[in-house]
Amino acid sequence: MHRLLLTGTLVAAFGSAAIASVVLFRDTGLSDTELAVARNLTLANLPKMPSDPSNAVADNAGAIALGALLFSDTGMSANANVSCATCHQEDRQFQDDQQLARGIGTTTRRTMPLRGVGYQSWFFWDGRKDSLWSQAIGPIESAVEHGFTRSQVAIHVIATYRDRYARLFGSLPKLADIPPASPMGDKSQQANWQDLPENTRDEINRIFVNIGKSIAAFERTLAPLENRFDRYVNAVWSGQTPSAGAMLTRQEINGFKVFAGKGQCTNCHNGPRLTDEFFHNTGLADATTPYDDRGRATAFVQLDSDPFTCAGRYSDAEPESCGDLRFMAREFHLFDRTFKSPSLRGVTDRAPFMHAGQIGTLEQVIEHYNNAFPALLGQSEITPLGLSTREKAALLAFLRTL
């Protein structure tokens, strides 16, 4: 009899706890389905960092350390004042708060934040690079960013990082008295490049690429940060009462429902990084030169002629394993003026918005999607949302939890 009583009491206690959880669950204002959708957007759903077969040192500790030094090294710029960290500032989510990125000059696009960048398949707003290492060396030779050349990079590495480099990639060649030379540079730099023997060009390219692979190894360590929305959903998912720092207001929860429902935001901003890693035309104007930037549509030609792709000779991957390139969709008309969906983690602290910083505030961004004016070039994918003032305010409140 006592045993029966004890069993009954235990079952009752367990049952009450379960009921309390159910009541708490209902208090969240989220249905079972909504909670599952919310869970999908949290870091709990973030997979392991994918490998990068094109970069043999992608996860090498020595390469990560060298990459961290190179990331902040202003010695790889024309005025000795520009590094990756100039625009990708650690205390600013690895971006710069500027409408258009500024190095030696001013670029035509907004600096992208870097956290979680190792999860991407395509790089830059138009995806004209198919690896992080190939992306990392692009700005070094851009006249308006670092304004440097690959021959200068090679000479700088030999002078500054000889031992660190040699431990990772083998000994460095002797490259003395080589003028600034690059196939991407100005006329004299291009001429200097043409004058170099083929094997010297290859040696320089090899060093340039290994610098990119080291910077990429460092950038792969920049993990997405947990936000209040993650904490709230995790608590609710595991049947716990969210702590004070993990609580969402009713308005923020309603904003999530707009985000995943009527607002159609999850069409592109989905998964734990809140991006589908793909390219979309939402009818945006350009920042300075109207309708000049065709986005993804012009990236294919650049990929075709790029010696630094996954399938190229400087990649460590077998060409058949370069699936992103091999199975790439590349119809010009489908990609005209499309740009990559950015991650929305930390978005409220990253004004101005869009690929050229065209929109100053998140309120205006929401209006842009709510109005969905037709694209002036290409085909906009969005349609008017008909959000009420209350829904727009809730959506904004939700975005602030990210």
Partner: protein
Amino acid sequence: MRKLPVLLVAIFGVAAVSMALIMFKPAPGGPYDANTHDSAAQHFIVKFTPENPDFQHNSLHTWIAEVKTSSGALVPNATITIDGRMPAHGHALPTRPQVTEDLGGGRYKIDGMRFNMAGQWQLNLAITAGDITDTVTFDMVF
């Protein structure tokens, strides 16, 4: 008689626990809902499944198409093209999948599949074998 309250509490407890377990269960549906379908003109019966059912969203992965005639004979040397779209969102697959290997026995390896969003996807296969061409459509949720 004294057992009754204990019994009631126990029943109530079990019911409550079951309810909680049901409510906390992850969303139903599983990672995929692959299927076997007749082609539109019923020339073929096609089974289309992911090689690894635990594939992740936004990750390239492999599918296998198994093609039989309507009478159940395996179809060798077929040519297959694949496209896909999300009917609710009006966008296509982000990739252009291709047959990368004829595995024999009417089975074909299809690489380059990638889904950049959870939800309902419509996958279309156009199959040509000999002088017969037919299409088959799969509606799948993952």
